[in-house]
Amino acid sequence: MGFTWVDARYFDGLSAQRRQVFVSLDVESQRLTIHDHLGADLDIWPLETLRQLRDDAGAGMVLCSGAVDPGEARVILANARAIAAIKAACPNLTKATVTPRTWGKIMAWVGASTAAVALMVFVIVPALAGQLAVFIPPEREARVGSAVLRQIERLLSDKDAGDWRCTNPKGQMALEQMAQALQQGQEFPYAIQVGVVDHKMINAFALPGGHIIVMRGLIEMAETPEQLAAVMAHELGHVAQKDPIEQALRAAGTAGLLSLVLGDATGGTVLALVGERLITAKNSRDVEARADDFALAQLAKAGVSPEALAEFFELLLQEMGDPAFDMGWISSHPPSVARAVHARAAVQTAQNYNKSVSSEEWQAIQQICAK
């Protein structure tokens, strides 16, 4: 249904002057006519070009001809019946016109930004971190390591300070002996310091500056001293490659890039965390393989069967799925059949392998956290 001579306000989009006008809707000829206060035609808008300002607070219907921004002139209608008539007669009131060119531009920029983020996260930042890690002097790296160690100390010893480290002297000595044997033929710029933390988590890690931390849970899980030696040799591999400090630099570079993408939308933080986890997993595969190879070589030099590493991976594979495990070594070192097979391939049947430490010493290591 059309209408004639309804009061409205009109802005020509050229000046700030407000004009009282009348509008008439003619459905048959498909047009809206705007008359000035004397009755002369001011403008004629075809109905299919009419656009409405959406999500308005209800002060009146704002109409323009063409897409919202380029259409300069505005008609503001307050009459409810006229508004209803226009809604019924105009097909494109809320249609947004997006040209194929705009879609092309959007697609291009989606591609460009995805490529930029991926390139940074997977190529540039890792390469840069690797290059720069070499230039950090060992004594400074050692200081960074000590600072990180203190941070961990603060984290673990929430109740009784100083109690977090296992210091049974016999066990410590045996552990150091084990580590010493694994360093044959390797030069480290700093002394390797091995320590055990009194925590049930099955985990071990290397910190910048040659600190290797083993958690009590991992010692308890190991069935033989050789398995512990295998894990330690792997961590020594990280130290030899300067992985910890490189990882710190890399983490700094990618930190926040994902939350940049996702925004502060509710739940975005969780997604960003998961994403960062995936990135480290992707980045660390090569690093882990190299640490494995280092471990196999050093185990062989120490006269310990590389099979121990395979055994330990198989042990982890069996225990996988236990939620208590998912937090520790498994999360950063996903055990796989492939890694176990690779380790087993390093075993030379012609060679006779020794025990890594005597059974008394192994007992002392197992008791290292006893008070």
């Binding site: 306000r9 300002l53 308005d56 002060a59 704002v62 930004s113 930042v125 570079g253």
Partner: protein, 423 residues
């Protein structure tokens, strides 16, 4: 000659027509818009946020009325999304390189520090190393602030004419950095200088149609607005002294708490009073002036009332939700008590309950966001607008349209860096 004089005399004789601002909004419509767009944002993993922002702005702008004509926001979600993508490319590269470089320097500096900081120099280096990343992002934040104001103004219309801001973001960046440093070094005593000069920089480049704004007044004119901040500082120092010298620990704590509350109110007071001063000294086209009668009491009142209201609403809702989840759990439990065949069913119910809990939690957070918009952000904006008056509106009629401002990157930098305030 006499003719023009006469007509001028006639114009001057007309009493200046004031034009009052008004904020006309229905709480329920605003709530559903904020809640629905917030929910869509979560469900689309954040992608919808550009459209959500745009729709909310469209609503808020159209609720702002000046002299019977409402404002109009013509921004589009798609252009915001595009702007974000453009900003993302720049930021990913800049931030990635910057963070690696800075932490490299940081590690080298950190290494130079003895294990336990032995003097103020070591502490300073440590603190510096921690904050240097933040400082390196600061120029970008100021850049984004200016760009987003420019985008917002270029997409704002009133009586059909566009607002605008000159393209001068880098000039703003170095000034903002300078005033930021000055405020920091003087322990906040030069904050009025910073507030005034930065506002003047923006206002002097701001347009309505082809008419330019001008910020008049003096920076020290903002010192009266600092009144309550200074008093609060005095109270805090007093409380600290009372506690520190062991005169009365409890009394010291009470004074400290009172001082902190006073400080927060002082911040609001500064915001409101500086807005009033700056508005009173703004001129459009050399003749149009403005007055703001905003009241810091009202703003604080809206804050407190809003927080209490939201707290009550969320409490009631969480009780209802908790009861509902309890009922679902109980029914799930009864299935398990059946026989062996029920175990599979129970596992299904468990997943359903977990899913419902996660969805409920997310909806809850979105709800709180919407409530904050409806009961705090919008009413405060509304109060500023309701108390704003254009003193002589007649010259406005002579103003003409200005050309549009394309801005391909829209306010993408502000979106990526998560700055930009409530709307």
């Amino acid at each position: 000659m006499t003719d023009t004089l006469a007509s001028q005399g006639e114009g001057a004789a007309l009493a200046p027509v004031p034009l009052d601002g008004a904020f006309l909004t229905e709480k329920s419509k605003l709530f559903w818009l904020a809640f629905w767009t917030g929910l869509l944002t979560v469900l689309t993993l954040g992608i919808y946020r550009f459209w959500a922002r745009t729709r909310l702005r469209r609503y808020i702008w159209s609720a702002i009325d000046a002299g019977g004509d409402s404002f109009e926001y013509t921004g589009m979600g798609l252009e915001k999304f595009l702007g974000f993508l453009i900003a993302l490319v720049v930021l990913a590269v800049y931030l990635g390189l910057l963070q690696v470089g800075l932490s490299f320097i940081g590690f080298n500096l950190w290494g130079a520090v003895t294990l336990e900081p032995s003097g103020p120099r070591d502490v300073l280096i440590q603190v510096g190393a921690t904050y240097v990343t933040g400082l390196a992002v600061l120029p970008l934040i100021f850049y984004a602030q200016y760009r987003s104001r420019r985008y917002m103004l270029s997409r704002t219309r009133w009586r059909g004419l566009r607002f605008g801001l000159d393209a001068a973001a880098w000039g703003y960046v170095w000034r903002a950095l300078l005033y930021f440093a000055l405020s920091l070094v003087t322990l906040g005593l030069l904050i009025p200088l910073s507030t005034f000069r930065l506002e003047k920089y923006m206002t002097d480049r701001m347009w309505y149609g082809d008419a330019v704004f001008e910020q008049q007044g003096q920076w020290w004119g903002l010192y009266p607005a600092m009144k309550h901040l200074l008093i609060a500082l005095g109270v805090l120092v007093l409380g600290g002294a009372v506690g520190y010298f062991g005169l009365a620990r409890g009394l010291g704590a009470v004074i400290l708490i009172a001082g902190s509350i006073w400080f927060l109110c002082g911040l609001v007071y500064y915001q409101v009073e500086s807005f009033k001063y700056l508005s009173a000294h703004k001129v459009l086209d050399g003749t149009v002036r403005f007055t703001s009668n905003a009241s810091s009491h009202r703003v604080i009142g809206i804050f407190v009332l809003g927080i209490i209201l939201i707290a009550i609403l969320t409490f009631v809702l969480s009780v209802v939700l908790g009861v509902l989840i309890g009922i679902v759990f109980a029914s799930g439990g009864s299935v398990m008590n059946g026989d062996g065949a029920g175990i599979g069913l129970f596992a299904g119910a468990g997943v359903a309950v977990a899913l419902a809990a996660v969805l409920g939690y997310i909806a809850f957070l979105v709800l709180i966001g919407a409530l904050v918009t409806v009961f705090i952000s919008a009413p405060i904006l509304g109060h500023y607008i309701d108390t704003l008056r254009v003193e002589n509106a007649q010259p406005l009629e002579q103003i003409n349209q200005r050309a549009g401002d394309r801005m391909a990157d829209a306010d993408g930098f502000a979106d990526a860096l998560d700055i930009g305030g409530a709307f």
